[in-house]
Amino acid sequence: MEGVEDSAGTANLADLHDENKRYCWVCFATDEDDCTALWVQPCQCSGTTRWVHETCLQRWVDEKQKGNSLERVHCPQCNTQYIIVFPPIGKLILVLDIADRIIYRVCPFIAAGVVIGSIYWTAVTYGALTIMQAVGAKEGLALMEQSDPLFLLIGLPTVPVMLILGRLVRWEEALLGFLNKNIPRLPIVKDLLPTFQVASNCVRPHAQGTETPPFSDPVSATRVLCGALIFPTIAVLFGKLLFHPVRSNLQKTFFGGIAFLALKGVLKIYYKHQIFIRQHHRRVLDFAKQPTGVKGRTNTSSNP
């Protein structure tokens, strides 16, 4: 929406103040009101908006720039860009000004570099510790000393990355889905594991208990992170417990890791499947026939 342009006002004010008299379009003062003020004619305006006090215009420019002294300002009437010049600058000030700008620009990159560098060195350290855990402290150190340093600098940080990526492979769910789909079709296994029948006939897809994908929320992301980073320690522990006759530390850890993964997978599949069966067998009771004390039971059942 356009406001009424100043043409009418201009004509009217011109009646009051004749053309020869200067008057400021900001404070409306004339020469008579203030004979010492400095006048400028900063744009192509003529008539009542031709003259303005320099101080008044400076304030208007400040108001328009809102602190950004490099922003261009135009005359609100004729849209001419004001020509704003700064006094010549001393060499020292110039150097300081340039230094100030460079520092301002560069700091975010330095900060990002520090953060990324910290993460990188943490990953390298973690990789080295993991190798020492897996093959034994002395052997690990010897192994790393023999290796090419460049190989270590690239190889060590990939250890935690690989662990996290590996944790993202959700093989238990795939296996569970496969079992749900295929067990009812197999003639003998079908009778051994009858509960899988239920899943294939289910009409309530939400009851399948699909897990939230990783990184969908911060909590599940921390779960992936913790699970991935603690895995080598657990693998070493399992190796020592279950496979102590094996000589080589590396083999122990390897078998321990596989044993842990298998155990965890089986437990997870069992847990998921039982939860699903439980969901499937839930019932909604008739209100009238609700036995006394059922309130407590429903509460506990909603909290498996």
Partner: protein, 199 residues
Amino acid sequence: MANIAVQRIKRELKEVLNSDEVARCSIHVELVGESFAELKGEIAGPPDTPYEGARFQLEIKIPETYPFNPPKVRFVTKIWHPNVSSVTGAICLDILKHQWAAAMTLRTVLLSLQALLASPEPDDPQDAVVARQCKDKPQIFHLTAQHWANAYAGGPSINTDYENKIRRLKDLGVTEMNARASLSSCDWDLERATEQIFS
């Protein structure tokens, strides 16, 4: 209040009181109190509009940073217009916001508001209900604006049909103002307005 603002208001008042528009009673400005921070404005509804013959009161508040920032203007008289809130009187006009220039005056602001009454902008609304009516049912909008001008701003046209509908709602215990607002927003459908009030 800052000296520059006071000095300017003083000069502007001199200008506006000497203007042709005040002579023709088209606009009017007067001080409220002695601080120069608040003024009372009045504009006449422009001819050939539903507001013709009505007079609208405005509240004008001069900010501390005037004239570098626009005055805050609001309709005190209730008005049915797409760019003015039918409840609060708040105005949507660019020169009262980012398009303000220090060279504008109380006089040009009031003349701009008069121009706004003459040419509503339903595509940049302040009151969405009014704006929709203005676009979809211009005939009803015209009559409603005329009726509001008659009821609140001394406009000359009396709409007996609308008066009767308001009386019907008043008989049910609704205040006249609420009845008018509801009927106006329901395009004077008595049934819908009743439902809106009593639901």
